[in-house]
């Protein structure tokens, strides 16, 4: 299993890997926003956390469709399916590797983009923390979509369409926890705990559902 984790990590940083593309997409999306809403620093500071979250959500979805499709195309998926090791463990490890290669860089890049958005230190810290807690959930939800769409040609867009509605709760609680940390009356902890609960929930449900979808997609 450790071997699988490191293989996927290696693949994502090798030529054509998705690790760097995700961060680049994140930066580009966030950089485009001020052109749209105008360079008003106060406004940017107010909407900054939300924009970072939406950007991270979109960037995290970017490479997800390849999660199982690449394995299927070269026949590795057959071998992964055949083993006595539970398939959901395999799926979970693949998700972990995918998150480490694409989700974690987003979390690390978010403070820099927070500065661009004129956010203060508190807001940046809160955004980073909520992204750290929330992006695994996006990956795990995305794994289900990727598993469902694995046998489809041009499944890439479909994965985003399938996954985005499911990821909305993550977005809601991620953003509200961040705002709760910045604005005084609202407490930070309750929405953040709900966010963590969502992540844990999908850490269980995601691999199970993805494994079931993979089993039935075989032909």
């Amino acid at each position: 299993m450790i071997a699988l984790f490191f293989r996927d990590l290696k693949l994502s940083v090798r030529a054509g890997g998705g690790a760097m593309i995700g961060v680049l997409f994140f930066m580009t999306v966030v950089a485009v926003i001020p052109f749209g809403v105008g360079p008003d620093l106060n406004l940017l500071a107010r909407i900054g956390p939300a924009i970072l979250w939406i950007g991270a959500l979109l960037a995290a979805l970017l490479g997800l469709d390849r999660l199982f499709q690449a394995e299927r195309e070269d026949g590795s998926l057959d071998l992964l399916l055949m083993q006595e090791t539970p398939l959901l463990l395999t799926v979970f490890v693949k998700c972990a590797a995918h998150w480490a290669a694409t989700g974690l860089p987003l979390v690390i890049a978010s403070p820099f983009l927070g500065l661009f958005m004129n956010m203060d230190e508190r807001a940046i810290g809160a955004t980073m923390l909520t992204l750290l807690g929330g992006t695994p959930a996006i990956t795990l939800i995305g794994a289900v979509g990727a598993a469902v769409a694995v046998a489809l040609p041009r499944g890439g867009l479909l994965v985003s369409i399938l996954v985005l509605p499911l990821a909305i709760p993550v977005l809601i609680f991620g953003v509200s926890a961040t705002y709760a940390a910045v604005e005084d009356p609202a407490p930070f902890l309750p929405p953040f705990m709900i966010l963590m609960a969502i992540t844990l929930f999908f850490a269980v449900i995601g691999p199970v559902a993805a494994a079931a979808a993979l089993r039935h997609s075989a032909d």
């Binding site: 030529a15 760097m20 680049l24």
Partner: protein, 256 residues
């Protein structure tokens, strides 16, 4: 006629990567030593000269910020010229040069952005504003990263060369925008004070360390660029040798 063929041979010689490697071997130590010399003198000067009465100590940030910003544009210009070389003259080293320059340019642009940010906080009270100069430099940074990603995404360098060359040339539009953004738009960023048609307006007290640092950084860039080009030539050699090895492998062992 013989003159013509001589010229062609000359061009061919220049294009020969083996020649380039030999040349690089010879000039690299000199470049490295010179840039180290200029940078250390520049560092000494930049910490011993007086602070500005208006900007105080922070003026010292200028001595790294301005050279880095200058290099971020020069590096892109080098890449654009290389891209022309790839598309028009089909010079084999041109693509090598463009590829090797991209990460270095990205690093210097990053440096310009960070030092600018560190300068902006005490002067303007904010890390970042979305004014024309800063935004266009940030766009330049994204372009560098995009080009690096494009170069990495394509396995075969001879095919990706033209594609990325086209992209580099299209992106060159950004360079004059960066240069003149401070004059065309009313921005927070101060206007140019060194590279002006009517001579520098900057006090000689600051100009001296700045120039020495700029020369040092430029030399450093060329040192790194030549070394990175050499690495790229080697990398391609390794690739072609490996393909050759793969072709040879079956034949020996299975020949009856």
């Amino acid at each position: 006629m013989s003159e013509n063929s001589m010229a062609i041979r000359k061009l061919g010689d220049l294009a020969n990567p083996t020649r380039f490697l030999a040349l690089a071997e010879r000039v690299l130590p000199w470049f490295a030593a010179l840039s180290a010399l200029f940078l250390s003198v520049g560092l000494w000067l930049s910490f011993t000269t007086e602070g500005d009465y208006q900007q105080g100590e922070t003026v010292r940030i200028m001595y790294v910020h301005v050279p880095a910003a200058w290099l971020s544009m020069m590096c892109y210009t080098v890449m654009a010229v290389s891209a022309l070389g790839t598309l028009v003259w089909r010079h084999p080293l041109a693509d090598v040069s463009a590829r090797a320059a991209a990460p270095i340019g990205a690093a210097f642009t990053f440096l310009a952005l960070v030092t600018g940010s560190l300068w902006g906080k005490p002067m303007w009270g904010t890390w970042w504003v979305w004014d024309a100069r800063l935004t266009s430099v940030f766009v330049l940074f994204l372009m560098y990263l995009g080009l690096i990603a494009l170069n990495r995404a394509m396995e075969d360098p001879s095919r990706s060369a033209r594609v990325s060359a086209v992209l580099v040339l299209v992106g060159f539009v950004n360079i004059p925008i960066i240069k003149f953004s401070v004059e065309w738009w009313n921005t927070l960023h101060q206007p140019a004070s060194v590279m002006r048609l009517d001579g520098p307006t900057i006090d000689p007290e600051f100009l001296r360390p700045l120039l020495v640092m700029a020369i040092g950084f430029t030399l450093l860039f060329f040192t790194l660029h030549i070394a990175a080009m050499r690495n790229e030539v080697w990398r391609r050699r390794v690739t072609s040798l490996r393909r050759q090895a793969a072709r040879n492998a079956g034949r020996e062992t299975l020949a009856p």
